[in-house]
C-alpha cells in the first residue's frame, strides 16, 4: 500500500492505495466517482476517459500511484466547467446519447475537440471520435451535438 495525494474535482485527497490499482478503480471504488465507466480495460473503447492535468486520458491503464500530485476532473466535478455544461445541453438537444454508458467520456473527448480544434469540420470531429466507442447512437447525434457547440463558440468567438 502507498500513500498518494491527488486533487480530485478541486479537492485535495490523500489516500492509501495498492500500486496495482488503476486510477479508474481508485476513483470509482474509493471515491465513488462512478461516472467513470470501464469497458475494455486496455485503452481501446474510451469509456474511462477523464481529465488529468487538463487533458483527456484513459484512466483504466494508468495506476493511481503514478498520478500522484495530478489534478483530476471527472464528470461529477464538471458542473462548473462551462464547456462541459454547453456540451451536455447540446448532447440532450441533438440526441447525443441513448444508454449513456459512453457519455461522460464522450463529453471529455468532445471538450478536447472544441477547445483544441476550434476550426474542426465534421470529418475531423468524426476522426477525433474514433477513440470513443458508442454502440447506440451511430454517432450522428454526437457529431451534430459537437458541431453545434463548435458553431456556437465560433459565433461567440470563444
Amino acid at each position: 500500500m502507498m500513500e498518494t495525494t491527488l486533487t480530485i474535482n478541486g479537492e485535495s485527497i490523500t489516500a492509501t492505495v495498492e500500486p496495482r490499482t488503476t486510477l479508474a478503480d481508485f476513483l470509482r471504488e474509493q471515491r465513488r466517482l462512478t461516472g467513470i465507466h470501464l469497458g475494455c480495460e486496455h485503452g481501446v473503447c474510451g469509456a474511462c476517459t477523464i481529465m488529468v492535468d487538463g487533458e483527456p486520458v484513459r484512466s483504466c491503464i494508468l495506476y493511481a500511484v503514478s498520478c500522484d500530485g495530478a489534478h483530476i476532473q471527472t464528470i461529477e466535478g464538471s458542473d462548473t466547467d462551462p464547456v462541459i455544461v454547453a456540451l451536455q445541453a447540446s448532447f440532450t438537444a441533438h440526441h447525443g446519447l441513448q444508454c449513456g454508458y459512453c457519455t461522460p467520456a464522450m463529453l471529455f473527448t468532445a471538450r478536447d475537440i472544441v477547445t483544441r480544434l476550434p476550426d474542426a469540420d465534421e470529418d475531423r470531429v468524426r476522426l477525433e471520435l474514433a477513440g470513443n466507442i458508442c454502440r447506440c447512437t451511430g454517432y450522428a447525434g454526437i457529431v451534430r451535438a459537437i458541431m453545434a457547440v463548435l458553431h456556437d463558440r465560433r459565433a461567440k468567438n470563444e
Partner: protein, 276 residues
C-alpha cells in the same frame, strides 16, 4: 482484467532508476506513459514484480537541436510532437506520424521512448524512425551509448536493450530542403494498430534513401535496393508491380492478401513522397 501485484518506485534520478532495475529480487520494468505496459499488465501478458516510474526523470524530457539532428528525449509524448512544439527537422514527417498514433487521450501520455522499447511490429515510431535512420541514446551503469535503429529492434516486442539500461532519447537526423518523405498506414479504423505501414525517406543531399515496411509479424523490414532505385528514378517507376516485386525480393514470404496490402502501403508512401 486487472494487473497482478507489483511494487512501485518513483524516482527523479537516472542513477537511482538504473540501480532499481538491477535489483536482484524479481524482475523490474520501467513505466513511462503506461499506454502499452498498462494494457499488457491488465491482460496479464506482463507481470513485472516491480515498476520504476520514470516520468519524473527530467534528463529524459530534453529536446535539443544540433546542426545535423534533433535529440528528442524518451519521455516526449506523441501529443507534444503532434502539436509541433518541437523544432521541425524532418519537414513535418514526425509531426504527421505522431498525429496518426492511436487517439488523442493515448497520445497525451504515450512516449516516443516507450514506443521504441515496446517494439510492437505495428508501432509507428519503430517504422518511421527506421526510415529516418535515427540513433537511440541509451543510459546504462557504464554510461551512455548509442545504437543505430537498424540493429535496435530484434523482432516483435524485442529490442537490443540490456535489463539494466534505459533509453534516454533518440537522435532524429535533420533532412535537407530537398528531402522527401511518405508515410502510409492501412488501418480499418483510424487510430487502430495498422495492418500495414509503408515509410519512405529520401534525401539527395546526404544520399540517403530508405524504404521500410512495418506491421508484419517481425521487426520493420528495410528494402534498400528498392529505395535506391526509387530515389534514382524520382519515384517514377515504382508502381504496384514494382512494389510487389521489391517485397518478393526480400526473400520473406507473404500470403497473397498481405502481399497485396503491403505493396499498396509501400506504393502509397512513395507516391506521397513524390506528390503523385
Amino acid at each position: 482484467m486487472k494487473a497482478a501485484k507489483f511494487d512501485y518506485t518513483k524516482t527523479n534520478d537516472v542513477a537511482e532508476a538504473l540501480s532499481v532495475l538491477t535489483a536482484e529480487d524479481g524482475d523490474s520494468k520501467v513505466l513511462a506513459g503506461s499506454q502499452s505496459l498498462g494494457p499488457m499488465m491488465n491482460l496479464r501478458l506482463a507481470r513485472p514484480d516491480r515498476l520504476i516510474d520514470i516520468r519524473a526523470l527530467d534528463a529524459l524530457k530534453a529536446v535539443t537541436q544540433a546542426p545535423d539532428h534533433l535529440f528528442v528525449g524518451a519521455l516526449v509524448t506523441h501529443a507534444a510532437i503532434e502539436d509541433g512544439i518541437l523544432p521541425d527537422v524532418t519537414r513535418g514527417m514526425i509531426q504527421h506520424v505522431a498525429a496518426g498514433i492511436a487517439y488523442r487521450a493515448v497520445r497525451n501520455r504515450g512516449t516516443i521512448g516507450g514506443s521504441l522499447v515496446h517494439a510492437d511490429p505495428a508501432g509507428d515510431w519503430p517504422a518511421a524512425l527506421r526510415a529516418l535512420g535515427a540513433q537511440i541514446v541509451i543510459d546504462g551503469p557504464a554510461g551512455t551509448r548509442e545504437a543505430a535503429i537498424d540493429t535496435f529492434q530484434l523482432g516483435a516486442f524485442t529490442v537490443a536493450l540490456e535489463e539494466d539500461e534505459i533509453v534516454r532519447g533518440v537522435r532524429v537526423p535533420a533532412l535537407s530542403g530537398s528531402a522527401r518523405w511518405g508515410y502510409h498506414k492501412i488501418c480499418r479504423k483510424p487510430g487502430e494498430f495498422a495492418e500495414s505501414i509503408g515509410a519512405y525517406v529520401c534525401d539527395p543531399e546526404s544520399g540517403i534513401a530508405r524504404l521500410v515496411l512495418a506491421a508484419t509479424e517481425d521487426a520493420p523490414l528495410q528494402l534498400d535496393t528498392a529505395a535506391a532505385a526509387i530515389a534514382q528514378n524520382d519515384g517514377a517507376k515504382f508502381d504496384l508491380d514494382a512494389a510487389r516485386m521489391a517485397l518478393t525480393e526480400t526473400g520473406e514470404t507473404f500470403d497473397p492478401f498481405k502481399l497485396r496490402m503491403h505493396a499498396v502501403a509501400l506504393h502509397r508512401a512513395v507516391a506521397q513522397a513524390y506528390g503523385a
